[in-house]
């Protein structure tokens, strides 16, 4: 581990894009101009000086060095993050954590199930599959949001749906009177997918309860636990497995995750009050 692992580097905000009323995507540039490599699913620690530090998943295209971060403003630190203006600085450490299994999924169907802001950590994996389209079989993207106005990356969802061998289905929990799309939780979309369990790798990200329901449904449909991956989120401090802040059972989410094979942690998702 490098000696300066705990020292955030000042990156510059290049752009801030509003995705939904409370969610923004920040594009950052490093101080020396050299973008560090990251893998789909990894996160960085983002520091707003004087406010606090947070783990935020990278939502950009890893093959293009896209250091973008999609942040939902829900508290003091996230509000400070999304309030940065182009030209201002943020502290960045990372990238950290385990990636989505885009290598082991080669030659297989890829099923991506995202809920809410959970689409952001999965977007780099989607970019990777689409960039290397011939190396994968079908790509299925299932997305659930709270309401129509909370749908992330709306234009990209529409453009992904036009790609070869790609099925995109989205739904909202509450539709309102002017919504003409699907209404219902994300698990209900699975019945519209012709799943070939033995040939499928599934990647799931969203609130823990949603992931538990999705995992239960996928396993019930014959998917082996070792072919199912989930991305966990907890409060973190050091991000390198030293402080124990993000300990979850016998795992540190920062170091052993955030992406876990379901076969390793499935029981933990069912454990009360963990």
């Amino acid at each position: 581990m490098p000696a300066d692992w705990a020292i955030p580097q000042p990156w510059t905000v290049r752009a801030v894009e509003k995705e939904t009323p409370d969610t923004f995507t920040l594009t950052l540039a490093p101080p020396d101009g050299h973008l560090s490599r990251f893998e789909p699913g990894q996160f960085s620690m983002m520091w707003v000086f004087g406010v606090g530090e947070l783990p935020i998943s990278i939502s950009g295209d890893a093959d293009a060095g896209g250091h973008t971060y999609t942040v939902r403003s829900v508290g003091l630190a996230t509000k400070a993050l999304v309030s940065r203006q182009p030209g201002e600085s943020l502290g960045i450490r990372g990238p950290y954590g385990t990636p989505w299994p885009v290598e082991t999924a080669r030659g297989r169907d890829v099923v991506v199930v995202a809920g809410g802001i959970g689409l952001a950590p999965l977007r780099p994996a989607i970019y990777h599959v689409l960039r290397n389209r011939d190396q994968y079989r079908r790509l299925v993207i299932l997305y659930g949001a709270r309401s129509p106005r909370d749908i992330l990356f709306r234009k990209e969802l529409a453009s992904w749906a036009k790609q070869k061998d790609t099925q995109v289905l989205s739904t909202v929990d509450y539709g309102g009177v002017s919504w003409h799309g699907r209404v219902g939780v994300v698990t209900t979309l699975l019945k519209y997918v012709r799943l070939q369990p033995a040939e499928t790798t599934a990647m799931v990200c969203g609130p823990e309860i949603m992931m538990r329901f999705v995992a239960r449904e996928l396993v019930a449909r014959g998917l082996a636990a070792e072919n199912l991956y989930v991305s966990m989120e907890r409060h973190m401090k050091c991000a390198v497995g030293l402080c124990g802040r993000c300990q979850w059972g016998g795992n540190f989410i920062c170091k052993d995750g955030p992406v876990f094979p379901f076969a390793k942690i499935g029981g933990l998702l069912d454990r009360y009050e963990l």
Binding site: D22, G175, V183, G184, T187, I209, F213
Partner: protein, 154 residues
């Protein structure tokens, strides 16, 4: 639609997967092919529940009608789903409305015909109840998850 075609469509619908052919032949005698244009109501809350539907294609909105407001869509159904179980239980009236969102094709099963056959043949009735129970259970699970409002900010 000819009887043989109806039978094939019913056999291929996921709701009746692996159902014995004897029961299928009983169902076919209560079945008919139906189509609904986009925006057309398939059933309305409070009306008699005289059939249920196997959706073959299209999307259907399940709605509640608040007074003096437009209907609220609480769920949507599509290919492979079933629509309607109020025909199973007294007072046999629809508890929600259902409207075709797209051009929708379905098989309608006459409820009075089915109820009569289930009373005459309890094995058929039990088989149908098991399948409807699974469907109701899945919808109840989904509704509970929906109620949790899991994407709300903490």
């Amino acid at each position: 639609m000819e009887k043989q075609t109806l039978e094939r469509v019913i056999v291929e619908h996921p709701f009746f997967a692996d159902l014995e052919s004897y029961y299928i032949s009983l169902l076919v005698s209560c079945a008919s092919n139906v189509r609904f244009e986009p925006g057309k109501y398939i059933l309305r809350e409070g009306e008699e529940a005289n059939e249920f539907y196997l959706i073959r294609a299209g999307r259907v909105a399940i709605e509640i009608h608040p007074p003096q407001r437009k209907p609220i869509v609480v769920d949507t159904l599509g290919e492979g789903d079933i629509l309607g179980w109020s025909w199973l239980l007294p007072p046999y009236t629809w508890r929600f409305g259902a409207r075709a969102m797209d051009a929708t094709r379905a098989i309608a099963l006459d409820a009075k015909c089915l109820r009569t056959k289930c009373e005459q043949n309890h094995d058929l009735g039990y088989e149908l109840l098991k399948r409807f129970s699974q469907s109701i259970n899945r919808r109840l699970d989904a509704t509970r998850l929906q109620l949790l409002d899991v994407y709300a900010a903490d």
